[in-house]
Amino acid sequence: MRDGQAMSRETLINILLAAALLALPFVAIAMEEPFYITLATRMAILALAAVGLNIALGLGGLISFGHAAFFGIGGYVAGIFASHAFNMEPMFSAPFEFSGSDQMPVIWLAAMLVSVFVAIPIGAISLRTSGVYFIMITLAFAQMIYYFAISWPAYGGEDGLSIITRNGFPGVNTANPLSFFLLCYGVLAVALLMFWLIQNSRFGAALQAGRQNEQRLAAVGIAPFRIRLVAFAISAAITGLAGALFADLNRFVSPSMLSWHMSGELIVLIILGGTARLFGPVAGAVLFVLFEFALGGITEHWQFFLGLILLGVVLFARGGLIGLVAGKARHG
């Protein structure tokens, strides 16, 4: 049962993926195609968002169709903080005056905190249900936030919000595309390490057992609800962080980051790569951005073909890319 061969092959793929993503911007510079740096950054950020979702979906079996909510919230935190800092007008004045920030560490922390703050009530209600209900309810809550963003004019409403200059990071020139990529890549690496640690930890054991058999988890005295709520919150925090980076990449945030298409795409990233695999989201994000770029260059109707490919993966290649190359997942 312990397929050492497949195991080492998966590790090899992971290393190759990590190396290829890291190499891409340097190749871009060598080819004088700076746009490819943006593509690589996009891959890293989408992978990060999907690593977050993978904690809930891959490890916990919680099919959240509303993670765009956290992605968008992260984006709006970045946008709102930056716009207040840029215009030097206070966001709030009690209990202390706060005029936003254009520093990424502050923004990242806030993006994660706000995501957790929103994820806890959403999770607390959604996790009382399961199956299809959970899918639909998470979708509905995300939609609620989407409509709120559209109808609340203070931060651009339907038009979105521009970030005039990319937010800064101490000691890094974030305006330089390569530096910004490396920053995102570093965050992704930390998130992957976190995922790996959680996957193998006691918490991860309980979370995964709950996915396999909820009844069993409760029968050994671990209440599934609390484990899942915490997992949902951690998952939201990481996806929120990715949203903040995404806003800085585009220097723009709009309700489309909150849309249900985004939620669907995040799930697609995980499935394309391979569910519950450490590097599944990375493989999925690389593939997705490549599809988007390659197909988009051929036809404006690339989403039609993306749909066909996705349908093919779901119907015929359920392990995703890593599953295809590395064989069946090993659990032990």
């Binding site: 299809v132 979708l139 609620m144 669907g264």
Partner: protein, 306 residues
Amino acid sequence: MSTALLIEQILNGLQFGVMLFLMAAGLTLIFGVMGLINLAHGSLYMIGAFACAAVAAATGSFWLGLVASLAAAAAAGALVELVVIRRLYDRDHLDQVLATFALILIFSEGTRWLFGSFPLYLDIPSALSGAVQLPGGGRYPLYRLTIIGVGIAVAVGLYLLISKTRLGMRIRAGESDREMIAALGVDIRTLYTVVFALGAALAGLAGALVGALQSVQVGMGEPVLILAFVVIVIGGIGSIKGALVGAILVGLVDTLGRFLLPKLFAAFMGPAQGATAGAAIASMLIYIVMALILAFRPKGLFAANA
């Protein structure tokens, strides 16, 4: 605020609710019988609207368009069921979500390919273009009243179909015990195709009817789909009665919320700020209602298999 205006808003809410019911009935039926979550239901709504608009434009008859919308949506539903959906019944919900998400991409982009990005327009048929005098002095468009009537007729028809006919008996059997009805010799594959096509036809009908009120464009089905999800979550997945109650509730709450909340907030926040805050809260109102209902009844108001 006049009584006439309030009555008009209530009728608008009913009309919206009835339209949501047409969507939600198919979704909940498909889930109840086949255990399938179908995100592409909104695409069938869109197909109905496009078929109606295209045929009405070509022939000059809204009624032929309406027939075409039913036929096209039912045919698309049956085709999709035969080619894709039936491979998904034994799969988990994640696979169903992804495969039907893929179908949305295919349908939306395919429609854009065929019809272009510009919206089509569908005129209200001349026989229904007038308005009706309301008690209280207002007037209300006949066409919208007709939609309410159609919705009620469909609700009654579905009730009769499910409780009185052989097909309905099989559907009910399919909801409670799949193996049993296979054992009774009912061709379950055909039954599934029929149920799926029926749900699709209802979605197509909704799309065509609403197409004459709004513009017909790619992506029009998606907001409606998500509201239909809210409806069946509130009503209890698998319950037609729940879908009806949920749809009317969502239709009324949403419409009246958008109408009343800005006025209410304006009363104590000042007109400009109040209207903004009221509109923002109103846009979230049905989700708040959904959350409240679920907090007390996690399986919805009329849970099918409690």
